[in-house]
Amino acid sequence: MNELCQLAIHQAHELLKQKKISSVELTKSTLERIAAVESNIHACISVNEDIALKKAREADSCIASGDITPLTGIPALIKDVICTQGIRTTCGSKMLEKFIPPYDATVIKRLKAQRMIMLGKANMDEFAMGSSTENSAFFPTHNPWDLSRVPGGSSGGSAAAVAADEAIYTLGSDTGGSIRQPAGFCNMVGFKPTYGRVSRFGLVAFASSLDQIGPITKDVTDCALVMNTIAGYDPSDSTSVSYPVPDYTQQLIPHLNGLRIGIPREYLVEGMQSEVRTALDIAIKRLEELGAEIDWEVSLPSTKYALAVYYILAPSEASANLARYNGVKYGFSEQNASAATEAAEKTRQFGFGPEVKRRIMLGTYALSAGYYDAYYLKAQKVRTLIKQEFDQVFKKYDVLVTPTSPTVAFKIGEKSEDPIQMYLSDVCTLPINIAGLPAISIPAGFDNNLPVGMQIIGKPFDEETVLRVAFAYEQATDWHKRKPSL
């Protein structure tokens, strides 16, 4: 195997800067890798070889003239929920199978300004609804660590692609764990920034009060580098905030002296696989050795309500957001109907898959007359309580540490017929979206060659401390260096 595609961003950048490699060579290496492994992994919905190589040649001429930033000439894959001008953006759905956005998402504009090489678009659960990438309308993605298992979801294509060295890094989106859970299942670093930190403009909306875009990378340094480019205020997203963006690489120091870490006990019970617990215990011990003060007695009692709150709020928002897909302005359209209402109903019947329909129905029910107060309003109130509990706890601790998922990657087909079991695989990640906090998943061990992820949760807009803890742990361990044999 050509080794260039195995590089991290910061390693490739050094070689590009010293002119030891070219962006064309690096890009070709990832394209060759895609050609070699895609028939097993199925991480990509589309690959645009010609565009990628053209952009790589342009990047090389910039680099030749000394114009280089940390992301210049580095090949990436983008989750297919993020709009890319002139390039098909399907959302993993038959509904948008032929949709070509007329504009770039803000994150894409920012990455293009740094001369990113976009290799193509990554597979995902339809409209980002799912935890296994089995809900893609096109094909399921396979976990590079065990091809009979799921890569997690909904950003399963993005996580599997980096794990299999098909891209140097990828972007995902996270509404209830969709970056962190697949990163954990694939031994990658996956970061969900604070709600409002990264512009959602051009991210196809699922649940607008929960969605955030974030990077999936091979290490924490790479994560910080991508964050440096994508974070920041955007007037096109009225929920993005204007706080200054620090240089996220500045706090990457190899010790945790003076940091207080809380372990919320509600995240360590019910249905948790014992091997995950063991791996987490060892990882937390390591955090202690690195200088952190650990408190095992932290409690967030409202955690038990988070699953219900999430599965009321997210489908409610989704049912409103997805009302736009009626076959008129774009997307799939069923023309065999006598009137507009029938056309819309048929368009949605044949354009959406089962999980999307289930969530639209659930959300519509929760918002309908007579049930709004009992479900939607109630969930919003409990959301306040969940958020307040985190606020209280963060007065005492710098970060909280939990497992990313209660289990390692499960088998393809194991949970696809049981929505509730599938929903439970996000039980450790979705409270974080409800509270809007930043959280990362990093490699923290293995159970029989299957990766275990550790989640580090931070205070709102304190991405730096989350990255600091992640970096110190990464420097003290070798988990992130392990590669799946393909």
Binding site: S319, Q380, P419
Partner: protein, 95 residues
């Protein structure tokens, strides 16, 4: 909370979502199971708790009312399933 077939059909109408009989049958049982899991929220007293629409406290975001360039009609219509005379074409709305 058990959802009847009639209720499922009613919600589907509100959502403009066509469903076949098998889907109605399946959704009736699946949605009922999911709703049962929501019962846990009844345990928690939220009488004096304000609802949160977002996780960050942002209110009334204003911007200058200034004209910006919009997209050419052709680009916006390019994804239209059906178009006519520079408009989206839809099926009959009123008989």
């Amino acid at each position: 909370m058990k959802l009847s077939h009639e209720q499922v059909k009613h919600i589907a109408r509100l959502a403009q979502l066509g469903l076949n009989e098998a889907e109605i049958e399946q959704l009736s049982s699946q949605l009922s199971d999911i709703l049962e899991n929501f019962e846990i929220l009844k345990q928690i007293d939220t009488c004096n708790v304000p609802p949160a629409t977002h996780s960050i406290r942002l209110q009334n975001i204003f911007r200058k009312d200034s004209a910006t360039k919009s997209y050419p009609q052709s680009e916006i219509l390019a994804n239209a399933p059906k178009q006519e005379a520079n408009c989206f074409r839809v099926q009959t709305i009123l008989e």
